[in-house]
Symmetry: C2
Subunit: 278 residues, 2 copies
Amino acid sequence: MTKQELLANIRSKNSFLCVGLDTDINKIPAFLLDEQDPILAFNKAIVDATADYCVAYKPNLAFYESQGAKGIVSLEKTVEYIRTNYPDQFIIADAKRGDIGNTSEMYARAIFDYSDFDAVTVAPYMGEDSVKPFLIYPNKWVILLALTSNKGSSDFQLTEDKNGERLFEKVLKTSQKWASDQQMMYVVGATQGSMFSEIRKHAPHHFLLVPGVGAQGGSLKEVVKYGMNEECGLLVNSSRQILYADASKNFAFAAQEEAIKIQEEMKMYLLEWNKTAK
Amino acid sequence: MTKQELLANIRSKNSFLCVGLDTDINKIPAFLLDEQDPILAFNKAIVDATADYCVAYKPNLAFYESQGAKGIVSLEKTVEYIRTNYPDQFIIADAKRGDIGNTSEMYARAIFDYSDFDAVTVAPYMGEDSVKPFLIYPNKWVILLALTSNKGSSDFQLTEDKNGERLFEKVLKTSQKWASDQQMMYVVGATQGSMFSEIRKHAPHHFLLVPGVGAQGGSLKEVVKYGMNEECGLLVNSSRQILYADASKNFAFAAQEEAIKIQEEMKMYLLEWNKTAK
């Protein structure tokens, strides 16, 4: 998917919501456990209920891998289901991968060839040749970790070099030599609201994938205030708040209500942002 | 496996060789493609041929993931095969994982509960709470990326902070607050031979997992000279040089010969290091 197509979807849906499919077999409604593939059944219901209100889905690969090979089947079928039924959705493999060139090449194959994701999250620690193999696929995206939403993000990401440049800033600057904003986005955690203006100094045009709104405590209003740019430039993720809104047979409806709640707030910000948004 | 058990294996085998199972379906001998699970068949033959000469195996998860769910089955069966037939082998999931706490918890389940690996490689970028969930398993190990063997390692790992401390040094120092040398090792690339003495200043007692000998150009002699400590403290990995020594029906024998060649060199160093080594 191109940046322009993504932006068109954001405008037409009045939403920049990404639904995180962190599907935990221990948290899904108990009645689904009778299904042949409970994780897939849950995901299908969540996707059907929320697709009108979001522009992206983000399966978190750890949750599928924790179920071994059958978890990978659930993942593959989930991606296929979204791709077939909701072709305008942007599908992100939240994988935090990154290794030497020939290994990253294999991860890229897994994510872009074997599965048909649009994007993958990548960790920057190993540098350029660990990221580049993900960039050879046309219209596929790397979403590079910059400033994450967890407590440990301060351990290394905020370390200042001799010139006062923090590691996440160096990541933002250096990685822009590897790809443009047409193929790269950044992960920026929402718990760091005011940091978005810092980020925008270094990456004014890039899309930012923002986890940490909701369960992790970030505020959507803050993110929009400091992070929105002339092309929206935000994909805000919500996982637990939507997926586990209700543990009964009513779960998909409850998930939809949560998605609508977020989408309505987003619509308000988008209207302010651009009078041409419907 | 405890550090003492690992060391006992190194002494009894006169080897600190780790065989990297970077099994690429496009590189294994063609006649194996008739097997029901060619990757598993290849791995079994390699393991049978090399187990006497190494103390560890390191499947690289990317290579299995690139084959989708059936690749994960090959991986699970490979781990089971080694665990059952060669219980003294230390099995490393080369995965370079790392994510927020609840996600790292899921990766840990995949690697330590669902599969029965002894260790996992972890990327440090997201800090303490991304690493800790891997540390709650008794006698299981985190092998944290410190200084890697690829070209891009200089992009961020060598960045100096205000006090002249490089990022990989900060990773070594900070992470020692999270776990001792009984549960944590570090990845240090062999292409950086002389850097081992720098590493040893900060981590004198830790085991180091050393990729990059052979195909990536590192020298075993240099690694030993600068990296070996009072408890050996080294696991040196070789992948391509062993796995793809020969593409004919003779591949396992050729792999064995390569493993023996490396083990004999290691034996020499171990004899110098400790006269009590047989």
